[in-house]
Symmetry: C2
Subunit: 142 residues, 2 copies
């Protein structure tokens, strides 16, 4: 289905049931999910979704992932309060990656930092870009 969509013009619409049936979840039943702050454009984190997490995200309007370490649904912010209110959901050209445009409450990262991408590689070294917040993060995430 996604291959056919490639040549379709803007405005083409497909019912969600057909879309979900066509998403190529991998051998572990997962696709990659990127969370991006909707207004600033900051990329906050990369996580994983199974079909149930994707469906819950679509219906609840709050990001729900699959925690590979806990092997359970991960309702982002359930323990930390750092919810992600979903403004828009996109799928990529082959349907195996999701982009969530979210409004992130607090920090996306379990360390308490706003974004998980706080390590920059530069001049043959990795440099930490931001201090860990004094209040710490949420060890229950993910």
């Amino acid at each position: 289905m996604f291959q056919h969509l490639e040549s379709f013009p803007a405005g083409t619409a497909i019912p969600i049931d057909r879309v979900l049936a066509a998403v190529p979840f991998d051998a572990n039943g997962l696709i990659a999910a990127i969370a991006q702050q909707f207004d600033s454009g900051e990329v906050l984190m990369l996580a994983w979704m199974n079909r149930q997490a994707l469906e819950e995200t679509l219906t609840s309007g709050r990001a729900c992932y699959w925690s590979r370490s806990r092997r359970a649904l991960w309702r982002k912010g359930e323990t930390s309060g750092c919810l992600q209110h979903v403004r828009e959901i996109r799928l990529d050209c082959d349907g195996d990656a999701v982009l969530l445009l979210v409004d992130q409450l607090g920090g996306a990262c379990h360390t308490g930092r706003r974004s998980c991408f706080y390590n920059r590689i530069d001049n043959n070294q990795l440099v930490v870009l931001s201090d860990p917040p004094p209040h710490g993060g949420d060890i229950h995430e993910p």
Copy 2:
């Protein structure tokens, strides 16, 4: 190593060899890589890197991925001309995702579209957001 880094202050630096040795490549030897246009913040694509692709990206300054379909290094833009000049590389908190801030020439997507994320899910349907460019894409990518 990444777990120790979580509590380190801004400015902490680690030699790249130690970092590469600590990156938790998955069972297929891969980590996820997000490409984002450095100035507009547009998320362009999600792809995969093995260690060799990551090292080549670091040394060449141009995005190099691992094509899971072709099972080969994928020097982005080699056949299409749609190169990604890398402005900055970041790793996430647990080191299994890369964020490339790039200057994208032409379209990132093999359909010729600027971004691969041209399908929006909305009101129980998927809607194509942009027309395929008349000149088409590059069937050799990925």
